[in-house]
Amino acid sequence: MLKALLRSMSYSSSLSFTHPHALSIPTFQVINEDGLPNSSSSQYLSSVNKDLLIRMYKTMIEVQEFDTLYYDLQRQGLISFYMQNSGEEGLQVATAAALDLNDWIFPQYRELGVFFWRGFDIQQASHQLFSNAKDLGQGKQMPVHYGSKDLNIMTVRSPLATQIPQAAGLGYGLRLKNQSSIAVCYFGDGAASEGDTHAAMNIASTTKSQTLFVCRNNKYAISTNMKDQYGSDGIAVRGVAYGIHSIRVDGNDVIATYIATQEAKKLILAGPQPVLMECMTYRRGHHSTSDDASRYRNKEELEHYQKNNNPIIRLEKFLKHMGWLDFDPVEIQKETRDRIIKAKDVAKNEKLPKWEVMFDGVYNELTPELKKQKGELKKFLEIYGDKYEINKHS
């Protein structure tokens, strides 16, 4: 132990402070903002094929159309709340595409493309938004708090960053049980400031968890721009500080993001060891339907990411460049929207969950006190049920 202690110290006779941006981590990119491969990118293009990229494109359109419809429906009062994924559809499907269903996902709340890619379909998502009896979450949480046991996607929660150390723990469990799968957590640049993020990376590093930390640096945490969020060279550099292999990638370049995720998973399993991937992207929408981003950012910035650095447009341009655009994007958009509207109608007409379900799941079974309280509410609803629209519940 003494040898290791002594070995880790190297002395210098010249006094110098390490500059905080000394380790300036570049952003990995394969296709540029015009959807064309960079000169030295050809080695990476063989990792993708037409079918894969078309599936990515179509899934991104599903996210886009789902977002568009439900943002409007919230405004009309049909659902209580919604959060869009605009601008981040690319990193969502690209990271998901590089993983398989044995990998575990710990989302934050802006990862709908990950859900759709893994098979959490539009109908299921719609049920959750309407908090109906078919919601897998039993109507317990706000809209967009999806989760699926079958698809190994841990249910979304509202407190930020709490999923990150949990992903470190589950990644350790995978290691313990010799699984060749990884735990992947997503979090934004804002969530990256939470103590849980620090706690997670540190413990994942020392326990060598099979965990992939994916930071969606979309430049805003509600109204707070990066400059008020951190002084570091983004989030990628922090991984290095914890002894974690780290990469920064262009999150709006689906090919780069896909490849980086594949390589990250290989690196994790080879360790085993955790890896950090910071995906540079942009949140084009408001934080949520409770926010109005025009109050804190300008149109010029928004237009740039709408036109010049839009993951969907960049992929479309690349597909065109490769001669792989064998479908009509407008048709796809229309067909997708129709499907979403149909699913919305089904979800909207479902009943809400039984009121009794409110008492389920506190523990694995009702305690005597919960049984007592449930009985009290039952008696109360026998008198007042109609005032609480009890017939809307099944």
Binding site: T155, R157, A168, G169, T207
Partner: protein, 350 residues
């Protein structure tokens, strides 16, 4: 107070519980040895169970995990970095994968960085996911309570903060026999459990603890002494003060007291409490934690709801004062046998 422990050992702290089978082969164990034995049992029977926390690898600052790493391996018994929120978050994640997860927080006084992970995550995981996920295989252990010289940050009893959170179970043993049986139940209970160990009891003498695997059920209080005139409710180390106070009050007032050890704070065994208070008509509740908002308040509220017409006196409480836990003033702060005696007498003579 530690010296008082050494002078006279409460038979209550070292008594067995009715659920523990008699006549089993047993070994004299202190509470910490009983806890160590329970952990060893789990690690032996469950090949992926993990025990971790700060300094757990070398045996823990209180020696509760002594020898476990050598016996069960470094992938299952290990140190974490010094970060309670990390320990708790990591533990929730590992447990949600189904691994039997036993996390240690070095002192209950330091559990607060983990508060979010415990009350917002562990407590709510099954509920908020519609039952799709749970961290039922999670147990968090922490030493709690007065130790004679701990001051503000080595003496706290934080059970009330957590009792206010639906979804958690809270268990507190009074002695070595209960520590092993309750800990085994806690680990095996399919809900996240906080297991607070009275640190003053860790090394305080020893008693026969069965060598076999045995459990004491959660959610069930134990009547450790039957009586007729007043019901005394406590848990953990308080049973020592209560035992002494009751001995004195019975002699001086010629009455008999019924003493209940809660064992599980959450969920409370109100059935046992109500039955007792309906019989005696009087009740005194004792805990080290500050009086305001302590669990004594909840128990008193419930008792007057269910047993109002049976009550002959107000419900008394013997608690820490509403101050942080002081060092040099601990003797004035601590709800000891004299304070308990005075309160019991007041309620009995009301």
């Amino acid at each position: 107070m530690l010296t008082r422990l050494n002078q006279r050992f409460s038979s209550l702290l070292f008594s067995a519980s009715p659920e523990v089978p008699t006549g089993l082969p047993a070994t004299k164990r202190t509470m910490l040895a009983a806890i160590n034995n329970a952990l060893d049992t789990v690690l032996t029977k469950d090949q992926t169970a993990c025990v971790f926390g700060e300094d757990v690898a070398f045996g823990g600052v209180f020696r509760c995990t002594d020898g476990l790493r050598a016996k069960h391996g470094e992938s299952r018994v290990f140190n974490t970095p010094l970060c309670e929120q990390g320990i708790a978050g990591f533990a929730v994640g590992l447990a949600s994968y189904g691994v039997t997860t036993i996390a240690e927080i070095q002192f209950a006084d330091y559990i607060f960085p983990a508060f979010d992970q415990i009350v917002n995550e562990a407590a709510k995981l099954r509920y908020r996911t519609g039952g799709q996920f749970n961290c039922g295989s999670l147990t968090i252990r922490a030493p709690y309570g007065a130790v004679g010289h701990g001051g503000l940050y080595h003496s706290q009893s934080p059970e009330a903060y957590f009792a206010h959170t639906p979804g958690l179970k809270i268990v507190i043993p009074r002695g070595p026999v209960q520590a092993k049986g309750l800990l085994l139940s806690s680990i095996r209970d399919p809900n996240p459990v906080l297991f607070f160990e009275p640190k003053a009891m860790y090394r305080a003498s020893s008693c026969d603890v069965p060598d076999d695997d045995y459990t004491i059920p959660l959610g069930k209080a134990e009547i450790v002494k039957h009586g007729r005139e007043v019901t005394i409710i406590g848990f953990g180390l308080q049973l020592l003060s209560l035992d002494k106070a009751v001995t004195r009050v019975e002699k001086e007032l010629g009455i008999t007291c019924e003493i209940i050890d809660l064992r599980t704070i959450m969920p409370l065994d109100m059935e046992t409490i109500e039955k007792s208070v309906k019989k005696t008509g009087r009740c005194v509740i004792a805990h080290e934690a500050p009086r305001f908002g302590g669990i004594g308040a909840e128990i008193a509220a419930k008792i007057q709801e269910e047993c109002f017409l049976h009550l002959e006196a107000p419900i008394g409480r013997v608690c820490g004062w509403d101050t942080p836990f002081p060092l040099v003033f601990e003797k004035f702060y601590y709800p000891d046998e004299n304070r308990a005696y005075e309160e019991i007498k007041r309620i009995v003579l009301y």
